[in-house]
Symmetry: C3
Subunit: 104 residues, 3 copies
Amino acid sequence: MTQQTSKLVIVTEKLLLKKIAKIIDEAGATGYTVVAAGGKGSRNVRSSGQPTVGDFYSNIKIEILTANREIALRISDEVAARFFDDYSGITYICDAEVLHAHTF
Amino acid sequence: MTQQTSKLVIVTEKLLLKKIAKIIDEAGATGYTVVAAGGKGSRNVRSSGQPTVGDFYSNIKIEILTANREIALRISDEVAARFFDDYSGITYICDAEVLHAHTF
Amino acid sequence: MTQQTSKLVIVTEKLLLKKIAKIIDEAGATGYTVVAAGGKGSRNVRSSGQPTVGDFYSNIKIEILTANREIALRISDEVAARFFDDYSGITYICDAEVLHAHTF
């Protein structure tokens, strides 16, 4: 059983995780993966141009495998509309082909 | 020197890492990358629907660049057959083009 | 507003982050994401074949979304030329389509 999928990636500030998780759930996606992330193009390097040591991984990278591109776009639009005026963030789509999946 | 590659991604429970690393080695893949991951669609959010605070990153995301699709499928099939009845997990493939590689 | 992009991924040793960040900046990329990573095909598993417990996540995975393939190749060439004789590392490219982006 093989299915074509879109993988939506959202990199943004950690404090938005709960609200974005709710948007993902409501869009009908069945799960997501979260990884702690740092980097540039985010608040924690704004002033000095270099990542701060204290809280380097102050961002999150959320990956959502969706059954089709429309669901991915809907989540991305909602996240950007609600948060990207006030918080830094980026969303992008990659192709991915799910091979096996089992979640409790 | 540029070569076309498949990237296999496995997201599953942390305690399976050693056994999966053995499967990857035996399939002839030369390396893999591991990242700590949390999320939904995994045990740690089963009861409440929200990630637990105590051990949020209780999953791992393993990425394996393989020389061809067949090796990626073989690893995925073996991992799913041995573990996905008892543990939550997902495997998927993306295209990736390796540019430079140097490992000791 | 949708744009086609290349995503360059660099997995290498943590201590190179600052120098690679400088290369990324100078190539004109606007940002990057960093994630702590472990794995095989890197120094920390060279001797035993298994990851060491003490400092498992001694690598980093850097992701850079670039406006075109040329910028990604330039960064990759520079990183490999300067560091991959002395340090372990791999660089690869994936397709990615940026949907929304907002950075301060």
